[in-house]
Assembly symmetry: C2
DNA sequence: TCTTGAACCTCTAGTCACTGGAGATCGTAT
DNA sequence: ATACGATCTCCAGTGACTAGAGGTTCAAGA
């Protein structure tokens, strides 16, 4: 049995975030001491590690709640879990695609001015003002 | 002179967002009719187009405020503008890097299970539970 | 000129996933 | 017994919007 501070140290999850996960229903409310302080066990640590890892991989709280629900039913089909994972993969790929388009335009914009002129003639400011200078959609 | 709805249509920025930009100081408060409705001119349209384009390129409201401030002083050096743009480029590149790491792990995780088993033996759930199964940091 | 109804106004609150602070209480070591 | 770090609850703030309630104004048609 260990305190919330100890749990925080072991998982690298900040204390207010742990309480937030509890309030959101991702973490079960743990036992309390007589003085009302939270005391966790190995199961709590495991659960929080799962949440942390999933968050690090970009899953939403909602998706993680669904995954935890599935975990609780070992005899159910895991189809939903793979669906959630592939949705997350699509999401990440869509974000990468968009960011690559932004990167290309930002490279062009940055190249257009060395920063030694006046704002009046600045290519950075001019290209922000006019999307038609962009080479593609973004 | 045109209404906020017309401005919204011409820029593809939603009406509450336009009001939010005004409140944030990005847009000057426009003239009003006798009945207190906003009326914009070409300058307002131009300004909002600038904001929209910069937002589409991922610049923060704060960065855009700084860029607009620079725009207002045509005789000042544009060094700060290029700094802001290259900071934005670095930011985008950092995000891409992180997302690519996530993509790799998510591909591995998704490949590990076809969704036809039980949650008990699901590789998706197992790899979310244990970062040591990951091939690299993310 | 009157009437309708779409468009507009302000204000408040909600979104997501936390993060920080105030003020009070608890746990533990000396 | 005292000190002091850790924890408690509750509230507010972040960024960049978005949505709704309840009321007013504008502009076009009769
Ligand atoms: Zn320049
Ligand atoms: Zn553009
Ligand atoms: Zn599976
Ligand atoms: Zn991992």
């Amino acid at each position: 049995m260990f305190s919330i501070g100890e749990l925080s140290r072991r998982t690298n999850v900040k204390i207010p975030t742990i309480r937030y996960y509890e309030e959101s229903g991702l973490l079960d409310a743990p036992e309390r001491t007589e003085g009302n302080q939270r005391r966790y066990d190995a199961a709590g640590l495991e659960r929080l590690s799962f949440i942390k890892h999933a968050r690090d991989l970009g899953f939403s709280i909602e998706a993680i709640a669904a995954l935890i629900e599935l975990q609780g039913h070992p005899d159910r089909s895991c189809a939903e879990a793979t669906d959630i994972a592939s949705a997350q993969l699509s999401d990440v790929r869509a974000k990468i695609k968009r960011l690559r388009a932004l990167e290309k335009e930002l490279v062009r914009i940055s190249k257009g001015c060395d920063g030694n002129g006046m704002t009046e003639d600045c290519y950075v400011l001019a290209s922000l003002a006019d999307h038609r200078l962009c080479e593609r959609e973004h």
